[in-house]
């Protein structure tokens, strides 16, 4: 495509695939606006339909019918309040998909609902913003519908001269009714072949105007989508980041405290005891000459030796807890090593085309470690599957077991995990019906 300006571009505009796709989008926009308008009427209409079909409407007096509407009205409101957000989300997803498919405009999905509880569903911000988009869709559909109308009927009108001779080959002098054509300014009719050229001219004008109308409509629509169907607005994002930052700081502080406690109660006390034993052994060996108490000295040195080995083991565990050295070789090696230390057999599959950021690898590793520990503790599973795959710019870590299920995503373990991964905009999905199986999926960005 060249950067032609002026009349050529304008003439070509209606005949690009973009125009066609925009037209499809606009037509679908009108359809969905109509659907949105009809949603609040569905329940009352159903009620009326049932009453009418059963014949109550005509035979029963008003006092019998009226209470039915007294019930139907609040029912409609309640259903709308409960269902609006999820319906809004679904409708938003459809519109994002349409925009991606037809307009090549990608709008990121908002974060998923935090839980399935009714309170979370009703107070679901992104869902209600999608509802807002749905309401806005009605006025947006006007330019879109107008553009699509001009496009479709412009093409139709342009074709009148072509099919006139095919159908109007009557003997001369035959008087016929006029042929009608639709334009934005009403219908025009003609009885002559020459007249069809007037219609064609109107069609051409409509066709030339249509792309700009559709473009105006879709541009407004895309702007509305970005505002209402995308991730939250900046202010909310800032709040979200503040919360996750506070958590990250808390976690770091808690980690330092844990580290201090582990060192204080572990390696440090072992080394102090070891030093004490060696100090005593030194005394037993004496400064020079034959040792005054060789047997005791030997025993103390053996004790110190054992203490040194214990201290080393302590430090090794601690070091692994801070950052497993095998992680430097990549997530695959680290998870394979992790799997071998599990009491339940773990099948590991890691398929990553390249290495994610080190911080992400570390988070993924500790998530896997915690989930495996959870499974070992609670699931009574016989097999655990641990998988890591790359999906676009995201890393998907899945841990599934064939155990008894019933894992609680709001419990301290899993919610703690969710909190930690939220710091990097990670998400967690837990499916663990009572009776099992359990499947936990963690989605992380590949870069921080």
């Amino acid at each position: 495509m060249t950067s032609d300006n002026g009349p050529m571009t304008a003439l070509r505009a209606p005949f690009t695939t973009l125009a066609l796709r925009r037209a499809v989008f606009c037509v679908l926009g009108v359809v969905s606006a109509a659907a949105i308008l009809s949603v609040p009427a569905i329940v009352p209409a159903l009620g009326v339909g049932i009453l009418w079909a059963t014949g109550v409407m005509s035979s029963e007096p008003a006092p019998t019918v009226a209470p039915a509407f007294l019930v139907l009205f609040p029912l409609t409101i309640a259903l709308l309040v409960v269902l609006a957000a999820p319906i809004g989300r679904a409708m938003g997803a459809v519109h994002r998909a349409l925009a991606a498919r037809l307009l090549d405009v990608r709008v990121d999905a908002p974060p998923p609902r935090p839980s399935k509880r009714i309170s979370a569903v009703v107070s679901d911000g992104p869902g209600w913003r999608a509802v807002g988009y749905g309401l806005l869709k009605v006025p947006l559909a006007i330019p879109e519908g107008y553009g699509a109308f001009c496009y479709v009927f412009g093409l139709a009108n342009l074709s009148y001269p072509v099919w006139w001779p095919l159908f109007r080959n009557h003997p001369p002098g035959t008087r016929l009714g006029p042929v009608w054509a639709l334009t934005p300014f009403g219908t025009i009719g003609t009885r002559t072949f020459a007249g069809t050229f007037l219609i064609a001219a109107a069609g051409l004008a409509m066709l030339l105007v249509a792309p700009w109308l559709m473009r105006a409509g879709t541009t407004l629509d895309v702007a509305a989508m970005r505002q209402l169907l995308g991730p939250r607005r900046l202010a909310q994002r800032v709040r979200e980041l503040q919360v996750t930052r506070a958590r990250a700081i808390d976690d770091a502080a808690a980690m330092m405290r844990r580290l201090e406690r582990d060192l204080h109660d572990g390696a440090q006390i072992r080394l102090a005891t070891l030093a004490m034993n060696l100090g005593m052994a030194t005394e037993k060996l004496g400064a020079d000459g034959p040792p005054p108490d060789l047997a005791q000295a030997r025993e103390l040195v053996a004790l110190a030796h054992r203490g040194a080995k214990d201290a080393l083991a302590d430090l090794r565990d601690l070091v692994r807890g801070i950052h497993p050295p095998v992680l430097d070789n990549g997530l695959g090696d680290a998870l394979a090593t992790l799997a071998t230390s599990s009491a339940i057999p773990v099948g590991v599959s890691v398929e990553l085309p390249d290495r994610p950021a080190p911080a992400i690898e570390t988070i993924a590793y500790f998530c896997a470690s915690e989930l495996l520990a959870n499974a070992a503790k609670h699931s009574r599973a016989t097999r655990i599957g641990l998988g890591v795959v790359r999906s676009g710019e995201r890393l998907m870590l899945t841990v599934e077991d064939d155990g008894v299920g019933g894992a609680n995503p709001d419990g301290p373990g899993l919610s703690g995990l969710a909190r930690r991964i939220a710091v990097v905009d990670g998400r967690m999905r837990v499916r663990s019906p009572t009776g099992g199986p359990t499947r936990v999926q963690i989605e992380l960005p590949t870069q921080v």
Partner: protein, 216 residues
């Protein structure tokens, strides 16, 4: 000499029992928390108690609080606080009322058995034993105090050892000099700092610490 030990790490506790028994001390009780310590002190009234600062249930300063109680309720029981880190504020709190029969040592110090036993004996007999680390902190804090700057390096060494609670003889042994030389250094130090000289080791520890800002 009778000792009560309060230390929550079992291996350290057992090691201490072994070390002290070996050195001829009588270990009346070896306990793991502050409540057990209080009852052991009441039951045995030992000469000295070795107390770990961080003990269950909160692992913060149970030992220190128990030590303060013990010093109030049993003034004759020496208290040796035992910790893996030094906190000058703790030393200050312990010394606040009277600097007798009190000590504060890093656990590392048990490695030098003779020094440790010496410090414990000093505390048991009403003396003072402050960890060199604590003294170092206090001296650094007090280095801008009038007089400290005018001390010679040797006098500073003597001052630090004095602050740890050592006697003139102990200082002489540590620095490998004669007692007479130590006495001369001590007199110079007191003169330069403008302190009234004192014969009692305890009083002199307190005077020095007050001067460098730790004993107030």
């Amino acid at each position: 000499m009778r000792v009560v030990i309060a230390e929550d790490a079992a291996m350290m506790r057992e090691g201490l029992v072994r070390l002290l028994t070996d050195r001829g001390f009588e270990v009346c009780a070896a306990v793991a928390d502050a409540d057990a310590l209080r009852s052991a002190i009441t039951a045995h009234v030992p000469d000295v108690a070795i107390i770990d600062i961080r003990m269950p249930p909160t692992y913060t300063d149970e030992g220190l609080r128990a030590a303060i109680d013990i010093r109030r309720d049993h003034p004759d029981v020496g208290v040796l606080l035992f910790s893996q880190y030094v906190e000058t504020r703790y030393a200050t709190r312990l010394l606040a009322d009277r600097p007798t029969g009190v000590g504060y040592l890093l656990k590392d110090r048990v490695a030098d058995v003779a020094d440790f036993v010496d410090a414990l004996t000093r505390v048991a007999s009403g003396g003072t034993a402050l960890d060199p680390e604590v003294v170092g902190h206090l001296m650094r804090a007090g280095r801008d105090t009038v007089g400290v700057a005018s001390l010679t390096p040797r006098e500073r060494e003597v001052l630090a050892l004095m602050a740890e609670g050592r006697s003139n003889a102990g200082i002489a042994a540590a620095l490998v000099i004669t007692s007479g030389v130590v006495e001369k250094h001590v007199a110079n130090i007191f003169a330069k700092l403008g302190l009234p000289s004192s014969d009692s080791d305890n009083r002199r520890v307190l005077a020095v610490l007050r001067h460098v800002g730790g004993g107030g």
